[in-house]
């Protein structure tokens, strides 16, 4: 009968930030992968893997483990195993000896490597589990690992106990200087009381009695072919969130925006900072509300892991907070009073910074940026200001934008980094931009500039919205482009998974702003290449890379981000993204527009037929253009050189349709353009039946290629290379 295997890894407090990954909340790797790999290695079958955790324990539950595993060990080939007299040789004896059995227990078996002696073994699962445990522990990845005893074993924090059970039997095992047993320990609040566990099911009941609240990790189920993830349920986190919401309501308020990264981080953190979480409310003196609310909430969140409470409208901060405590203390009021005193000290500090910072105007700090290093190889942050100004000016000119005004652009770039030398940002680096905006507002800077300063780092993460104002979006674009050019220009491109400067995130944000511009702004038609030229020039001689190489790398880098967004965020088909990028990957905003149109065609049955006809034209013309290596410099089409009637016929049709298509494209009437293009199909078809493009006569050949290229490029160079769409499958479906 199959049974469950339970492993509890008792640790000194694991970093709260590590647990979501170890429990496989968002990703692969983690404990589930370590367990899967170890089970595979040991040849141990399983049906389901479940993960649980708290700061002091990681729990692995593997279900469906049979008590005995049959395994065939391959020995020496039969001709080597016996001498001519038929007596076993040393090879046979040493193989049998390795498993402690007589040679008579070995049997002959035909294998892929000839007939061999084999041993059929029945291995108790407990033996295999004992070996799997160290493999599991070694396999759990952490961002940082440590040694703690003479064994040299490594883990995130010291392992202090191991509880390993198979059904109701303890599995003897050892790791580091810890021996496995059948004892678990209660939470610190319960005095870390030892409790004997007799079976796997009783473990979970015992933890409940000990008031240890386990959070769930990813569960994995084995299927016939592979394995699948069971939808993740973070019950402890959910419960805690409900408790927090209820507590906020009781204070006649609500929690801060639950969608922000700060909130999510804080909730994850407190979930993994307590084995037995309890929510309690406290308050601070209302006079501190005069400080920027972000300062108060960040100070409470980052320094003390406390939740801010907002008025019911969600905007105004209340002088209250919520704490998640480890168990209910004997004297909650006293604990909260202590926490309130620390808040008081922290806020006094913050007020001191605010007063110091606002003694002068924000612009007075700009000169100090000359002393702030952007990167060792890239000079000071102060050097960036004129570059950002130049990029913004170029951007505004290319977009023909007069709002924001040139003065606003210049002002925003001038002030945007000044908060980096304020005491407040030194204390709360995550508030860069936010603090600058507060101080700029305090100084009476124009509202647009203030907003742009606040928005310049957006989107900070994948879920963060792009800047909602045109000036903010432009500033963020300029900031990112300048950064990318700088790092690429001194050879600091990310490689593989190594991206220490977060350039992928920068580039992803850059592309997102391009494709989700704040109205009325649109970046369609903007050449990134030309803008990059401006940026590269603004760096002067500091960059080491060849400008053409740099742009090539940058283009490829941005293109990858575009493709990622198209596939993951936009849920477009890969072929569609490739098709529009083949028609132009420089104007990424335009490419995104074209991708949306292409996708809408594909998803509309009637338009799809039109599209498929056009795609066939593109496919035939495109194929020959690609196959011929000499299409560059084939020159213009000369109708005088046509010799066949089919080619004249096509030329006639094309001459009629081409100007229309051009006009339709210019007017953005894509449906009509695609329709007109597709209308050429009969003539194109006939052309390819009758005319041999690759004629021996080079003049004829080049002229025909030039013709094909012209037709192909009409859409393939402006809209999408339709020949990249998966036509073969579609042809079968529609019977074309």
């Amino acid at each position: 009968m199959v049974q469950s295997f339970l492993l509890e890894i008792g640790c000194e407090e694991l970093p709260a930030d590590y647990l979501p990954a170890v429990l496989n909340w968002d990703e692969q790797g983690g404990l589930a992968s370590a367990a899967r790999a170890a089970f595979e290695e040991g040849g141990l079958p399983w049906s389901e893997i479940r993960l649980f955790g708290t700061p002091r324990r990681l729990v692995l539950l593997v279900q469906g483990v049979p008590p005995v595993v049959e395994r065939t060990e391959e020995g020496p080939p039969v001709q080597v195993a016996f001498d001519p007299q038929g007596r076993p040789t040393r090879a046979a004896e040493s193989f049998a000896g390795r498993y402690g059995v007589p040679v008579s227990k070995l049997v002959r078996k035909r294998t892929a490597r000839g007939e061999r002696l084999v041993l059929k073994r029945r291995i108790p699962a407990a033996d295999l589990l004992r070996e799997a445990i160290p493999a599991i522990l070694r396999g759990v990845p952490f961002p940082k690992m440590m040694r703690w005893d003479a064994s040299g074993a490594r883990f995130a924090r010291p392992i202090r106990w191991l509880l390993a059970l198979y059904g109701s039997r303890p599995v003897p095992c050892a790791y580091a200087q810890v021996r496995g047993g059948s004892v678990t320990y209660g939470s610190r609040r319960q005095g870390s009381r030892p409790v004997l566990i007799k079976s796997v099911p009783s473990y979970f009941a015992a933890l409940k009695r000990l008031r240890v609240d386990l959070e769930e990790g990813q569960h994995v189920r084995r299927t016939a072919e592979a394995w699948e993830l069971i939808p993740l349920r973070r019950r402890k986190r959910e419960r805690l969130l409900k408790l927090l919401r209820a507590a906020a309501r009781k204070l006649k308020g609500r929690l801060q925006d639950e969608r922000t990264d700060e909130f999510k981080w804080l909730l994850d953190t407190v979930t993994f900072l307590a084995e037995e979480p309890v929510v309690a409310a406290g308050s601070f003196r209302p006079e501190y509300l005069a400080l920027p609310p972000e300062v108060l909430s960040t100070s409470m969140a980052k320094h003390l892991k406390l939740f801010s409470v907002y008025a019911a409208d969600g905007k105004k901060l209340l002088p209250k907070f919520l704490a998640v405590l480890e168990g209910k203390p004997k004297d909650s009021a006293r604990v909260m009073a202590n926490i309130e005193r620390i808040i008081e000290a922290r806020f006094t500090d913050a007020r001191f910074f605010y007063q110091e910072d606002t003694k002068g105007r924000l612009e007075g700090k700009v000169p100090d940026l000359a002393k702030v290093v952007f990167h060792e190889k890239l000079g000071a942050v102060g050097d960036r200001i004129p570059r950002l100004q130049r990029l913004l000016k170029a951007l505004a000119q290319r977009l023909s934008v007069s709002d924001p005004t040139p003065w606003e652009l210049e002002r925003a770039a001038h002030l945007c980094k000044a908060d980096l030398v304020t005491q407040m940002v030194r204390e709360f680096p995550s508030l860069q931009g936010t603090i600058g905006a507060h101080y700029a507002g305090h100084d009476g800077e124009p509202a647009e500039v203030v907003r742009a300063i606040a928005e310049q780092y957006r989107p900070r993460t994948a879920n963060d919205p792009v800047p909602p104002t045109p000036l903010g979006a432009m500033l963020s674009l300029a900031d990112r482009l300048d950064t990318l050019i700088g790092y690429f220009g001194v050879g600091l491109k990310p490689t593989g998974s190594v991206d220490p400067y977060g350039l992928r995130r920068q580039a992803l944000g850059f592309v997102r702003i391009l494709i989700e511009p704040p109205p009325p702004l649109s970046f369609a038609g903007l050449s990134i290449d030309r803008l990059s030229d401006e940026g590269i020039q603004s760096w002067g001689s500091r960059l080491k890379a060849d400008p053409a190489e740099l742009k090539k790398d940058l283009r490829a880098f941005l293109r990858e981000r575009f493709e990622w967004l198209a596939l993951v965020a936009g849920r477009f088909e890969r072929e569609q993204a490739e098709a529009v990028l083949a028609a132009g990957a420089d104007d990424l905003a335009g490419a995104w527009e074209r991708l949306k149109i292409l996708s809408s065609f594909w998803n509309d049955q009637r338009k799809k037929q039109t599209l498929l006809r056009a795609a066939k034209v593109a496919e035939r013309t495109g194929r020959i253009v690609r196959a011929a290596k000499e299409t560059d410099g084939v020159g213009r089409v000369d109708p005088q050189r046509f010799t066949e009637s089919s080619e004249r016929k096509l030329w006639e049709a094309w001459s009629r349709v081409a100007p229309m298509i051009q006009e339709q494209i210019a007017g953005g009437r894509w449906v009509e353009a695609v329709e007109a293009y597709g209308s050429l199909y009969p003539q194109v078809h006939e052309f390819f039946e009758k005319v041999f493009v690759m004629d021996e006569n080079p003049d004829l050949r080049r002229n025909r290629l030039a013709f094909m290229k012209e037709i192909f490029q009409a859409l393939g160079g402006s809209f999408a290379d339709l020949s990249r769409l998966p036509l073969a499958e579609e042809r079968q479906k529609v019977g074309a």
């Binding site: 407090e13 709260a16 010291p158 870390s192 307590a274 203390p329 004297d331 604990v335």
Partner: protein, 297 residues
Amino acid sequence: MKKRRSGLTFQQLILRLERFWADQGCLIAQPYDMEMGAGTFHPLTFFKALGPDPWKVAFVQPSRRPTDGRYGQNPLRAQRYYQYQVILKPAPADVQAVYLKSLECLGIDLKAHDLRFVQDDWESPTLGAWGLGWEVWLDGLEVTQFTYFQQVGGVDPEVISAELTYGLERIAMFLQGKLDLYALQWNEEFTYGQIHRRDEVESSTYNFEHADVRFQRESFDRAYEKSRELLKAGLILPAYEQLLKSSHAFNLLDARGAVSVNERPTLIAGVRALAKQCAEGYLKRGQTPRGLTPSGS
């Protein structure tokens, strides 16, 4: 001065810790007589964490951090304060439990409070040292830094030490229920402020306004050069003391805003290289069974 109704005075707190750790078998050592940023710089920590020999020590170390000066105005921060440092090598398996017992011996009822071990990865770039561990929070107040050394002087130690650094003022504030470190009772007669506030104002003024940049730069360079010379001569502790001098000169330059961001990594790397050579020199010479004897006797 009126007597507090509860909580240990600052000096009682130190006495209790001395007693507790002496009972645990620690050598009770004395503060080092040079400026240093933390107890980790004490030779009885830095050197003794290296090599195979077991070691248990506890001591108070006044710690100087010029940039933390607040002219005596900040209730939590000062440019000079006291750490109580304990080194347990090898780190015993029940080190957390022993530490919690030390808190109880200070009269802290752990059942009545919220105690957490919150991740904190400690690093001293100048000493080429880092470790993993926690800040210990008592009702949200960070009272101790708890670290398992993973590297010291650029060397992976053979035996892992646990380093417990109690923030004495923080714990006293907790025990006495005071928000302001200067309001702490040092003993029944004097407050911490009476002993140190004036010094704090003057020292902050010196650190931020009067410390001579040229002189400090020269001190940094000279101590650095001297240290290298002494290392060549095989005089490890004197070389290390010069390192301490250059490290303090660096901190003063920093407080004067005289370290440009460009040169910061270079200067730190220089001191770190000295620390590494000191560590290696110490290990090479470590034949003496009792290891380092700072008195030189």
